[in-house]
Symmetry: C2
Subunit: 474 residues, 2 copies
C-alpha cells in the first residue's frame, strides 16, 4: 500500500466517523504534509483518491471540503434482541437464500459472494491448473487430516498482519470458515448448552447452533463498537454460557470494526468467567484501513480464543479453504475435523499456498479493498438517493455488506415477496437473528461491479420500501 493510500485511508476514516462534517473545510495540504511527515505531492494524491471516492470536493482557491452529498444517513440503532436463550428458527428463509440460482437472471444483492472476476486471481487459477497435472500426484492422496503443512505455514505468516504469532501447527485447514465454526462449536458445546452471540449475527453460526441443539443468547450490539460488554457481562452472570461467538472485524452484517480497547475488554471478561471465545475473522483481511485490525486471538494468552477464517471472501468460495486456530482445544477440534469431512480437498490447498507464497494474495487484497471501499461509497449514495429519509444505514469499515434498518413496523419479508416478482434478491433481516428479529432490516451486498442494472435494482427496492411505508402510514 502506498503512502498516499494510507493517508487517504486515515482521512477517509475521520470523515466516516464524523470528525469532519458535511461541507466542512479539510486541513490544508501543507498542514497535513507536516502532520504526517509526508511530501506535498503525497497529500495531493491522497486528496485525489478521496475525491474519486466522492468523499471530498476541491473548491478552486479555497481548498478541500467534505462532500455535500456525503451527508451520512443515520446509523442503525443499538440492537435489542430478546435477552434470554432461544431455540433457533429461520432455516426455511436461510435455505431460500442459499438455493438462489446465480444464473436465474435476477439481480443478486442478498448473497455474501465476493467479486471473483479480478485479474489478480489469475495466478491462483494457473497454480490450480499446474498442480492438477503434476506427475507426483500431489493433491490426489488424503493428506494430513489437519491440512497441508505448506498452506498452514503461509497462513501463519499472513496472521502476523492481524497481530497473531502462531506456528503452522496451531492451524488446522477446514472446508471453508463454515466448517471451522462448526468444529469450534461442536468442540466446545453439548446439546442444551447456551452460546452468546452478537446480534444481528451470521446465519451460519445460528443454524449450526440449531443443528447441535444449542440455544443462542443474542446480546445487544452497537453498530460502531460491536457487542455490548455491559449486556454480555449481565448475561454471563445470569446464564451458564458455554462460549461467546463474535465477528469483531468487518462484522457481518453490521460492518463495524470493534475498537481494540473493546477487544481487550471482551477478552478480559471472557477470562473472568473462564469462557472460550469463537472469533469469526472471515472478513478481517478486507478491512478498508491498513494495516488491518488485530484479532482478539492476538491478545489471547491462555488459548481460549478459537480463531476461524477462510479464503472464501478474500479469494473465492468455490475453493472451500478455511482454517481454525483452536488454541487449547486443538485435540477436540481434530476429532471434530475427522468426523466432519476426514480431510480437506488437497489440490486447492496447494494452489493457495503457492499463490500466497508468491505474493499474489496481498496484491489481490490491495485491489479488492480499494474496489469494495469504492463500491461502498457508491452504494451508500444510492441508498441515500433512492430510499426514504427514515432509512438507517451501517457504515462498513471493510468487506462488502450493507445493513439497512427501516422503521420498526416495516416488513422485509413482504418486501422480499414483491422483489421476487421483479427479479431483485435481497437478504431479509430475520435470518440474522436466532429468534427471527430484524424483520424491519435487510442486508445488501455491493461486492460486484456496480452497473446501471444494480442501480436500477436499488431504486426498485427503495420505491417498494417507500410504497410499503406509505401504505402503513396511510
Amino acid at each position: 500500500m502506498t503512502r498516499y493510500d494510507q493517508l487517504a485511508g486515515i482521512i477517509g476514516e475521520r470523515i466516516e466517523q464524523g470528525l469532519y462534517t458535511c461541507g466542512e473545510r479539510l486541513p490544508s495540504v501543507r498542514t497535513l504534509s507536516q502532520e504526517h511527515e509526508v511530501s506535498i505531492s503525497t497529500v495531493q494524491q491522497a486528496y485525489r483518491v478521496l475525491e474519486e471516492r466522492q468523499l471530498i470536493e476541491a473548491r478552486p482557491k479555497s481548498g478541500y471540503f467534505v462532500s455535500q452529498q456525503h451527508e451520512l444517513a443515520a446509523l442503525p440503532a443499538m440492537s435489542r434482541p430478546a435477552q434470554r436463550p432461544v431455540e433457533i428458527s429461520q432455516w426455511d428463509l436461510v435455505l431460500k437464500l442459499l438455493r438462489a440460482d446465480p444464473e436465474d437472471g435476477m439481480v443478486h444483492l442478498g448473497i455474501g459472494m465476493p467479486d471473483i472476476s479480478s485479474p489478480t486471481l489469475r495466478p491462483l487459477m494457473k497454480a490450480l491448473s499446474r498442480i492438477a497435472l503434476q506427475p507426483d500426484l500431489r493433491g490426489m492422496a488424503y493428506g494430513d487430516i489437519c491440512g497441508a503443512p505448506a498452506l498452514r505455514e503461509q497462513i501463519a505468516r499472513l496472521l502476523v498482519d492481524s497481530g497473531n504469532l502462531l506456528s503452522w501447527e496451531d492451524i488446522m485447514i477446514t472446508s471453508g470458515c463454515h466448517e471451522a465454526l462448526s468444529i469450534a462449536i461442536h468442540a466446545l458445546c453439548q446439546p442444551g448448552d447456551i452460546v452468546a452471540v452478537d446480534s444481528p449475527s451470521f446465519h451460519g453460526v445460528t443454524q449450526t447452533l440449531k443443528a447441535f441443539g444449542i440455544k443462542a443468547l443474542e446480546i445487544p450490539t452497537d453498530p460502531v463498537t460491536g457487542i455490548s460488554l455491559e449486556a454480555l457481562e449481565l448475561a454471563l452472570e445470569q446464564w451458564p454460557i458455554k462460549a461467546i461467538q463474535v465477528t469483531p472485524n468487518c462484522n457481518n452484517p453490521l460492518g463495524y470494526i470493534m475498537p481494540d480497547s473493546h477487544k481487550q475488554a471482551l477478552l478480559t471478561l471472557a477470562q473472568g468467567y473462564d469462557t472460550p471465545i469463537i472469533e469469526d475473522d472471515v472478513y478481517g483481511d478486507l478491512a478498508y484501513r491498513y494495516p488491518r485490525p488485530v484479532t482478539i486471538k492476538s491478545l489471547d494468552e491462555d488459548g481460549r480464543v478459537l480463531l476461524c477464517s477462510s479464503f472464501s471472501k478474500t479469494l473465492a468460495p468455490g475453493l472451500r479453504i478455511g482454517w481454525i486456530a483452536p488454541g487449547r482445544y486443538m485435540e477436540q477440534a481434530t476429532h471434530m475435523k475427522y468426523i466432519s469431512t476426514g480431510a480437506t480437498a488437497l489440490q486447492p490447498q496447494l494452489a493457495v499456498a503457492e499463490f500466497v507464497r508468491q505474493g499474489g494474495y496481498q496484491k489481490h487484497l490491495r485491489r479488492m479493498r480499494a474496489h469494495y471501499q469504492h463500491n461502498c461509497d457508491i452504494m451508500t449514495g444510492w441508498i441515500k438517493t433512492y430510499f426514504p429519509p427514515e432509512t438507517r444505514v451501517s457504515r462498513p469499515q471493510g468487506s462488502f455488506l450493507l445493513w439497512i434498518e427501516m422503521p420498526e413496523h416495516f416488513d422485509s419479508l413482504r418486501l422480499n415477496r414483491q422483489l421476487d416478482q421483479v427479479g431483485v434478491q435481497i437478504a431479509v433481516g430475520p435470518i440474522f437473528s436466532a429468534s427471527g428479529k430484524y424483520r424491519h432490516c435487510m442486508r445488501l451486498s455491493y461486492a460486484l461491479a456496480l452497473t446501471p442494472a444494480i442501480e436500477q435494482a436499488v431504486k426498485t427496492i427503495g420505491n417498494a420500501v417507500k410504497r410499503q411505508l406509505d401504505e402503513v402510514n396511510a
Copy 2:
C-alpha cells in the same frame, strides 16, 4: 468389460466359494464354451486370466486345475461383540493411523488408500487442469449447497449399475463419504441414541457416533454373509435403536458382499421396526464380480435407506467428492450439509462429472478391479506362506483390504509397537470396534503394486506374529 473377463469372474468366484476345490479338474474348454454360449477362444482367454491370478494351473494334455497353492486359509470366525450399547473409545489409536506420514519411509499397509498411479486417471487430471483455467470462472463460486447438478446427474446414471433408479435431485454432493455418513447420522440421531452397527466396522462411523454422543450397539457379523439378522432382530426388540449402519458391499474390513436375499431380509426387518438404514457403499464399485452387486437402497420403497458413497476409493481421496442419497431425510440432510461445510469444493466436482460423462470412470474401474483382484490373490498367498497356520483370513469379494484374525490371546497393539520399530505400518483390530474388541486382529491393505519390499514387510509381520504366539505358548 470383455466376455472373457466376465467368464473369468464367474469361474473365479466359484473357486473362491469352494465349488471347485484345491487340485480339482475344471470343466473342459469345450464344455464351458457350450454352457456359456461363448467361443472357444473366449474360454481360453478366461482361463489365461485365472492362470495369471494363480487361481488355476494348466497341466499339459490334462486340462485346467484349481491351483494347489490356492488352498484357502480358514475364514475369520463370526464376530462376538458385546451385545449392549457402548460408549465409543479408541480415538487415540485411530488418530495415530490417520496421522501416519506417507513420506516417512515406512511400508504402509494400514491405511485405506487406493492406488492412484494408474494412467486411466490421467484424463481426470487433465479435466481438473482445464477447468481451473476456464474464463467463465466456473468452479470459483459457491455453487448449489447440494452440489453441482452436472455431477449429480452423472452419479444418478452410475447408480443404475447398483440397481438404483434415482433422479439427480435425490443426490447431494458431500466432502467425501465421511461427510455423507456424518450428515446421515446427524440427520437421524440425538445424543444418547443408539445406533446398531455391523462389527467389525469402519472407524469413521464409530468415531462420528462418539462425537455426537451416540452409543454403538455392535451386532455379530458373519465374514461371508454380513450382519447377523437374528442378532439384529433381538437387538431391535430389546433396544430403542435409532438407525442401522451397515456396509453390505465389499465390507470394510471383512470384504464380504452380503447376499441379495440377506439385503432384502435386512430391509424387511428395518421396515418392521420402522428403523432407517445408513448404507455405506464406498467400496461397492470395486466388487470383483461384474455386474457389481446391488445396494440395499435399490430395494428400498419408502425412502428409509440413506445411501452414502464417494469417489475416494475408486478415483482419489484428495478430491474429497462423496455423495449421499438420503431418501425421505433430504430436508434434514440439507440442513446438516449447510452447517457442516456450507458447500463442497466446486472444481473437483466439475472435473469428475466430465470424467464420468466421457467414460473415463468405467474404464478406470475395470482396470482397478482387475488390479485389486490380482493383488488379493498374491497377498492372500503371502499371508498363507509367511503367517502361522492358525491364521484366519477374510476372502474379499472386492476392494483392497484383508482382515486377519489370530488366536484370541494375540495382541495386535503389541505387534504394532514392534512393527513401528522396523518400519511397517498396519491397522490394529481395536479401531474397528466401538468398544476396543478385535485386539487379536489386524487389517492389511493390498492396494498398491505388490513390490518385493511389501512381500518383505508381510514376512516381517508374519515372523513377529509367530514370535509372539510362541512366547505366549511357551
